[in-house]
Symmetry: D2
Subunit: 460 residues, 4 copies
């Protein structure tokens, strides 16, 4: 009667070892050990408080758990795959250490509420870490924006040069995206920050426990209100993975730009040697590997989202074995996000901005054509008509190999008599940029104002 599985009472045969390896989650869920022990300690203290354990039993259990945490962190813990998962490994070890009293820890608790507790504690911590990392990346953009406040480059639509913008303005666009990403993580946190313990297997426990006390110990602002929901839903996992996918979407756009800008054709930036790699065969190469890898890692984070959505589709209530597959997708998403967010500030801070190339690209690209049209509108020509006129001016320039600035007033008059001498100043890039005076526009003072606002917000 010395069977190793805690649930082996009704079983006549031992588990097939091929099955044991297949169903064990220990290889990946061991990283939840800290959360598992913290949750167990809070649960144990509540059991003592409610009279379900004696003070002495409680003391032994807590001490045992703390020793186990030390063993794990020292690398001396004897992990055993046949105990299925981290929860059982810890519990069995506890019983080895302090005897049968260790078995009382599981009073009023099930693996079902325990595992979702651990995952919530884990994500709560990680959302905190990730939010701090996002803030550091935002800070990097803020610093870069300040450094490049006068730098003009072409803004693009359809990868065609469209209108001149400030590089600072471009960087701040990413600041804004990241701010919403952080908001989504916080909303996810708010929804998952709910204590599930007490739901037990699915129906709630029948022991007279004090859930509020556990919530307080573990810093949960509220309790789950339905035990079946508590153990069976993983929407917080999906929500986290979706927020992560969006963050990666934003980073993939940034990295696409770093790759483009590093190309010889754009030549807008040079990434530092320290963050690029070479070719094993082509000696001249300097590859923006980090940016490409981040762009590529978008794929795995999207894939993780699809994984967890697929796992949960169509499962009947409450807990099903499929749900063991929730963890690896989360862990890989967390690891990938952390790695990308760690390396990006390094890349951005060390890159050299080639200001002249940027400015020259804006000058050659007719990026002031819209402003010429707007000028005509201010002269009283309907917008669509003005647009048509300037389109013809551009075509003329392309045929003549000229820029708009190269044209004389005489040439302009061939297209419209409404051009006055001041047009020649009105289409200078600095003027064009500074004319975008609207809130959120690229005019220097608008961008400066926004930087001040964001810095103030950062500091507070």
């Amino acid at each position: 009667m010395d069977s190793k599985k805690p649930w082996s009472g009704r079983f006549a045969a031992d588990t097939d070892h091929r099955v044991e390896g297949f169903t064990s989650s220990l290889a990946f869920d061991r990283r939840l050990y800290k959360q598992d022990i913290a949750g167990s300690i809070a649960h144990c203290q509540m059991l003592v408080r409610c009279g379900l354990l004696t003070a002495e039993e409680g003391r032994q259990i807590v001490e045992g758990l703390r020793e186990i945490q030390q063993e794990i962190e020292a690398g001396t813990f004897p992990f055993r795959i046949e105990y299925e998962d981290i929860h059982m490994n810890i519990e069995r070890r506890l019983i080895e250490k302090i005897g049968p009293v260790g078995g009382k820890l599981h009073t009023a608790r099930s693996r079902n509420d325990q595992v979702t507790l651990d995952l919530r504690l884990y994500l709560r911590e990680k959302i905190g870490d990730l939010s701090r990392q996002i803030t550091l990346l935002q800070q990097t953009f803020l610093e870069l924006a300040e450094q490049h406040l006068d730098q003009i480059l072409p803004g693009y639509t359809h990868l065609q040069r469209a209108q001149p913008v400030l590089l600072a303005h471009h960087f701040l666009a990413y600041y804004e995206m990241l701010e919403r990403d952080k908001g989504r993580l916080q909303d996810c946190l708010r929804r998952l920050n709910v204590l599930p313990l007490g739901a037990a297997a699915l129906a709630g426990t029948s022991y007279p426990i004090d859930r509020a006390y556990v919530a307080e110990q573990l810093d949960f602002p509220c309790l789950s209100q339905n035990s079946m929901d508590a153990v069976s839903d993983r929407d917080y996992v999906v929500e986290f993975c979706a927020a992560g996918a969006l963050l990666m979407l934003h980073l993939s756009r940034l990295c696409e730009e770093l790759v483009l800008w590093s190309s010889a054709e754009f030549g807008f930036i040079e990434l530092s040697d320290a963050v690029t790699t070479g070719s094993s065969i082509m000696p001249q190469k300097k590859n923006p590997d980090v940016a490409e890898l981040i762009r590529g890692k978008t794929g795995r984070v999207y894939g993780n989202l699809m994984t967890i959505l697929t796992v949960m589709k169509g499962l009947p209530l409450t807990y099903d074995g499929d749900m063991q597959e929730d963890k690896e997708a989360v862990f890989d998403t967390v690891d990938t996000l952390e790695a990308c967010l760690r390396v990006l500030p390094v890349v951005l801070r060390q890159m050299e901005v080639k200001g002249e190339r940027m400015r020259a690209a804006a000058a050659e690209g007719f990026t002031n054509a819209t402003d010429m049209a707007d000028y005509l509108v201010r002269q009283g020509i309907p917008f669509r008509e003005a647009h048509r006129i300037v389109g013809q001016v551009v075509r003329y320039c392309l045929e003549q190999g000229k820029t708009l600035e190269d044209l004389t007033l005489e040439e302009l008059h061939r297209f419209s008599p409404r051009f006055e001498p001041e047009i020649l100043d009105q289409i200078r890039l600095e003027v064009v940029v500074d004319n975008k005076q609207v809130v959120g526009g690229t005019a220097r003072n608008q961008v400066k104002r926004r930087i001040q606002e964001l810095k103030a917000r950062m500091e507070s």
Copy 2:
């Protein structure tokens, strides 16, 4: 010089008609006409207020737009595919109606800020509609919970009967999931509820406009703070599609249960004739088609999420042509969610609950075994040991073809001397259910309390 495209100034050749059909989005974006016109009217009124249009020009434009709305709603609007999209169709029609002054509407605006405005207005409205529909579905669950407050059925884990629960408790689990779904939609709304107009093509407009006034007219609580971000991000679309995918995930679980429960094997419910379909060949069939279809439609909503994530991956700033592909995924998601949410309350209200089958299933399934173990724990046996004892009792019952209730005290004593006579009462299903007294547990008074709370919240 009478070319049909508004941007044809610099173009020497007309658009190839195969390309015209390929790039036109009119077939699907026409459903944004209302938002487009509402946005244009607000923009026009602001232009008048800022002196960029005369009052008379403004009047003509607004009147023209209102006529156009009537034409569209009456089905008399002459849609023309060569005008690419709904925005151009409306503008061209306006010029046809009121002459060149119609062209002035586009002052200080671009299709880039216009199209994201329209999509935000659309989603804002639809999130409102969907939230109301979710509430109706929650209300249905609340009513069903009240009706079936005493009904016991087996709660399942791993699709094995686990512990007895109240059907009301089971229904309320879905109430909770839906509440979080609604919360996600509201968070998405909060983030998208930002006025982008003024961003123009990408850099901000150079006209002295009043964005705050437009925001007020269109009921936006705030303004976008970076023009490049405003026209190039579609994170609100992804966030909406992800929230929709999660909602469908929840509905797919419900529908899986409806399908299972309708099977002859479970026999827990009978769906009404009005919501089932028959077979073209098998006369006895009554198929839970609606539930299956909803479960299946989960696939398309997941697919739509993957679509928009893929579209946006790795696009450089700002607007790229790929982003035209954002709309159909959103529209299909909205349509699917609305259709599923419309039909589900009908299905749920008309289903017949077969209470005796449910109760019998709970009674036969050893769902009270946990409580027998808990009893032993209260008798002073460590939980793991108690679990092992009851596992052996269950194995004995299976071999003897008995239920736990069938056992005599003598038989129980073979497994443990700690069983006392009261055990025979303690494992009655009603007692077992009512013992789950913890907050969120399935005890009748807990469930009742929760129903009262939720009803009160509904009413306020």
Copy 3:
């Protein structure tokens, strides 16, 4: 007793109209009318042949079906949503036309085997069409390759200029990808080209029918060998959608290159006015919309694959209502592939190649550095050492603003004494390209040989 549904015998109540709209697939499956009628005619002729219908009955049914096809094609067919799908609509109409004998068509058949037959016939036809379209696109690449056989441009890795290649070689890379795409579609066709009729609802029919005769009529080389498999699997749908996703993946890479090459920064091509669009606000813009849209449509085809994978996951045998959701994903995939394949040859044939820009980019990019290293290897230096030396030469050039060709022998000797005078010729781009003499290399004669091979294959 005059209920409209063919399966209403056991039903006491009519279908709720909300449910009717929800479960009807008529809106999209009507496009299978031709396949449905062709399948029915073959089935009917077999029934006559087997004595299950009289010749006269058969004649009436076939004639009725042909009239129905004409009605549908003339737009006069009275589609009725309450008849659920195209199959029922046709059958009901047949009975309206020829009386109760029409009901005999369904002998020995079920909607379950009928619907998978129709979808197989549809995909068989579409795979043929798509394969022809792919061949046309390949032909376009072949012609472009012939036209640009001497054109050098930089080949890229990591979007960094790497080695000079022929534009013809670059185009032929797409030829090869498309060839494998066609192969995947053909493999899919082979697997789906199996007659399912005879499987009936799921167990096989009990009528003495002749499946081989039907297969012959409908040109199927073989019969399904398990009735449950025949009606319940949709792997051919998934396989088709996966092959389509891969095709779009390839097109997305091509379109990315068209977008890059059209940018002012690359300037390698100019797309014709006929296939580009302008901006509503920026008069100078010429947007590569078609290429961007194809790249974007990759998203929807990926999404469709995810849809059908999700729909089918975890469904028990045999046919489940969820599977009605298989069709729209397929139809949208087919439509998207056809549209993209139709427009791409137009874009490619009308684009102007800017040969000088391409050649200049290759010359400036140290794309001959590898060949300088290879030269040193031929001089007896280990490859890794040679690579290191040339890396230093490149760094020197970057510092001096020179290209490799600008260096004198004296300068080269600072890095290695092994450089001989012939090095100056060995790094000329034409020589570098022609040195890639290996099978599949970019040397002109290799590329020419490949073009001849492929043209010969095309003609046969």
Copy 4:
């Protein structure tokens, strides 16, 4: 000048260590060591044969590589993360061992063609392994089919009992699905079984090498025909992942059925203790964990497909850094498929079929109603009319609590005068099953014939 990276010639600064960890793929690509060494040996032998290495150099290199393989397999190889990947680790180690001559191995080769070679070799081997595993699973189904040739159970549509089928027939449906899965893997193999070496970085090598000789050594039937295609496409990875997703789709359906059939409600099978797990809290539980986990793992394989599709979308030619992300998705797919295929035969062989429950379920479910309708058709009633009549008979039975077999001829005559006494035999389940005499039908002799065919095919 003793920098550790093989490409560090042009670099002035060392790699940032944070970047080093980020870009290194050693942690996962080390599992390609065997393929890498095999490819290198073949390449080396060819270099000797072509006179690019001396025989002695070749001997040293091959010997060095073999020693390295032994070191890796003995666990003594000094992996160094700063050498980025397995390829560089092996090469650097080779140089350590045999001196600078080791550097000559890289002559006429690049990491770009090397890495795709290794991945092709890996997948070629794994497709072989997986195909063998699939065959074993098919064999299991074949054996089970033979064992249960007389066992009747209800076939289901919409999870409603539909028609009686043989359990053997049900099992063989999976045989057929798996056969197509194997076919897809083989088609994938055929397409990837192409030697890429010689493509070098992207343009082909300029050394006079003999690709055909390498192909022969490594058993490749053909050579890649375009160097840019060879190094830049990963369609074989996508195709493999898609074939894997389909295989998992099929397994998920099987596992759904195992879960359903193990439920108390169905009770069709009992999984052995050796392949099930218990509950930590509910002593009576016996959970079909393995089946649930396989069903859940479908999610990760779908996710991996989405990952690689996303990674490759829109990448310009040729090799991009993103493509480093192709491997983990493949490895995880291979591992998951292997694990599932390994454990499933164990589960299937040890399960106990509860024949009486199956047969009883078929008898109670009106699964013979179609045959009653078919009987009426043979009596001359149009099918639709017959269907309607039997629908009414079923409704009558439901109201009376009877099965079809319970009815007397008198009762039947209330619905139609065409019922003759033989009807009572015609609807016996054995007769009903054996009436499905069509090819692919569930009649016993048809199923037996199919088993014989498949066994014969297995043996050959």
